[in-house]
Subunit: 187 residues, 2 copies
Amino acid sequence: MEKIKIDNSVRGFPMPMVVVGAVVDGRINYLAVAWVSRVNSNPPMIGVALGKGHHTNKGIREHKEFGISIPGVDLIKAVDYVGLVSGAKVDKSKIFESFQGQLQYAPMIRNCPLALECKVITKVDLPSNEFFIGEIVGVYTEERYLTDGQPNIKKIKPFTLTMPDSLYHEVGEVIGEAWSIGKDFKI
Amino acid sequence: MEKIKIDNSVRGFPMPMVVVGAVVDGRINYLAVAWVSRVNSNPPMIGVALGKGHHTNKGIREHKEFGISIPGVDLIKAVDYVGLVSGAKVDKSKIFESFQGQLQYAPMIRNCPLALECKVITKVDLPSNEFFIGEIVGVYTEERYLTDGQPNIKKIKPFTLTMPDSLYHEVGEVIGEAWSIGKDFKI
């Protein structure tokens, strides 16, 4: 069928919802973020793209550390809330119970099934966003989210955001095994 | 409950599956990629993190252009296949029917519901990966994937990868509206 051109700002794919934690002006702050991706295998690194207007950026720039908490679906309201209000106006430090690992300025959320503490390696300055690349120096979970010592997605219950419909989605049915289902593919 | 530390290489969140297209040594090549994220709002930019050993990187470095095709679940076997075999050994140019937009070296897949052509703005050289940041200069779809002129996730049917279980998942049930469900949140 005929291809048509649409708005370049399209997303069109499900984006993982995480909460970025930072210490800004001496106070813990949290921001809901969907523009996140692993970026390096070894050592493990992750990147988050934050609009330059966000309060959080200031803290990450200053301390070169941030936390990434991966919320389960039960936290959806609180996660959405920290994406709605700015830490410049509202004290978001008490919304979640925080904990820290080995880094001092990488606050993580105790109620999140998985949390990563990250040390900034580099920052890419883009026109409207800053892309912070952090080395993952610690990953925290609880026994109840593991199966055979590995995080279990069915227990973690992360969720995604799709655009432009602005909807949060559960992780859906399993449809295949990666690096496997394509083995019998024939052109 | 008690927090425990696990392997730093954890993912733990659903990652969108896309297919990166490039022209390598004069031949179209495709690679399945899950490390992808939008990174800038205006102008729209997207980043992909590719292991340095991949054949695809060479083509993107040379031509500074790449395509990103967002496959629907019906293409799962072919998508997995292009993640299993290297373009250095196998000719992957005929696996999909390709099309191009305004860029010459940003091949996209005709059978994918959404496809983006990207011009490299910068490349971040990381220890084991290269993170290519591209400006999205064209987005292509078909009328049948739109609702009121906007891409409809239910029609596109993208899928995600989770780790460490190596499973592909459909997009699941809608659990809330973003920038909305948190409005009545109280601490």
